[in-house]
């Protein structure tokens, strides 16, 4: 047996002191799990009160009508107006007179959407050159 073994054996023979009485008293029972303790008296009182309040509110509050499922409706109106026509040339073809005219058109697009209070109006101006028969009405 070497010196270390002898000393270690002597150390092991020292028994740690027992738990003091006050500590032993505190440790009679294991700790209660957190969050699993018995409900307090306050909780027993609060639950029926909360239920009663909910029922009372149910009587006095106006019934809520569930909104109809939102359905988006889009209306679109298009309109083209001839605002100007200018004759550029008149030619005879097979005993018929034809006129080359330059026309000015205004196109208006109006869009209305049910999901938005805003109306969108789009106006564009375009020029066209067209051949048309000359009429003498």
């Amino acid at each position: 047996m070497n010196d270390d073994s002898e000393l270690e054996a002597m150390l092991r023979s020292l028994r740690p002191g027992s738990l003091p009485a006050d500590l032993r008293q505190n440790l009679t029972h294991p700790p209660a799990p957190v969050g699993k303790g018995p409900p307090s008296r306050l909780l027993w009182l609060a639950l029926p009160l909360a239920a009663a309040a909910a029922i009372t509110l149910g009587f006095f509050l106006p019934p809520r009508h569930a909104p109809a499922p939102a359905e988006t409706v889009t209306l679109r109106q298009s309109q083209s107006r001839l605002v100007e026509s200018r004759s550029l040339e008149v030619v005879r073809v097979d005993d018929e007179l034809w006129e080359l005219a330059e026309q000015k058109w205004v196109d208006e697009d109006l869009t209305l959407c049910s999901s938005s209070p805003v109306a969108i109006k789009l106006t564009t101006t375009r020029h066209e050159r067209v051949w048309q028969p000359v009429r003498f009405d």
Binding site: D3, M10, R15, G17, D22, L23, P31, P33
Partner: protein, 168 residues
């Protein structure tokens, strides 16, 4: 009021306390500088470890680590320092069971253990009474395994020197 019969958990708790309680308290005592702090740390650590284990026997290392952490937190607290100083003025609570038949050597050895430097004493207690391996001690204390081993050797050496003073 009549006590209710102990539950299975309560019996498990008592068995665990009987088996390990004394040396857990010894470790708490060596980690703190007053008996009051040791009791606080010990009780809080045991409750904490038991809750964490969710009904199973807590791991020994977990309890020791909790004691260690709480003792460090306590040591940083200013009001606890005052309490320690007050406590230090009183009689020292013995860490080991006094055996009057065993002679002076055991009492001398118990005192010598207590008077070891804290880092040496911690390793000695974990090794002798905790029956922990050096890797386990290293893991708990945060010291490398060779450091833990050499601290243990230094502790034994110091104790041997102290005992030599007793020889005629």
């Amino acid at each position: 009021m009549e006590d209710s019969p102990p539950t299975a958990e309560s019996r498990l708790w008592q068995a665990w306390l009987s088996e390990h309680g004394e040396w857990f308290l010894l470790y708490a005592r060596q980690q703190t500088r007053s008996e009051a702090d040791a009791k606080d740390v010990f009780q809080e650590a045991l409750f904490d470890a038991w809750r964490r284990a969710s009904g199973a026997i807590p791991d020994k290392a977990l309890v020791l680590a909790t004691i260690r952490r709480r003792a460090i937190d306590l040591g940083r607290s200013a009001d606890r320092r005052v309490r320690r100083e007050n406590d230090f003025g009183g009689a020292r609570t013995p860490w080991f069971v006094t055996d009057f038949d065993a002679g002076d050597t055991r009492d001398f050895l118990a005192t010598a253990v207590r008077d070891l430097p804290e880092n040496l004493r911690e390793v000695l207690i974990l090794r002798i009474w905790g029956e922990m391996s050096f890797p386990e001690i290293a893991s708990l204390t945060g010291a490398p395994v060779p450091t833990a081993t050499s601290r243990y050797r230094y502790a034994l050496e110091r104790l041997r020197e102290s005992l030599a003073e007793l020889q005629p």
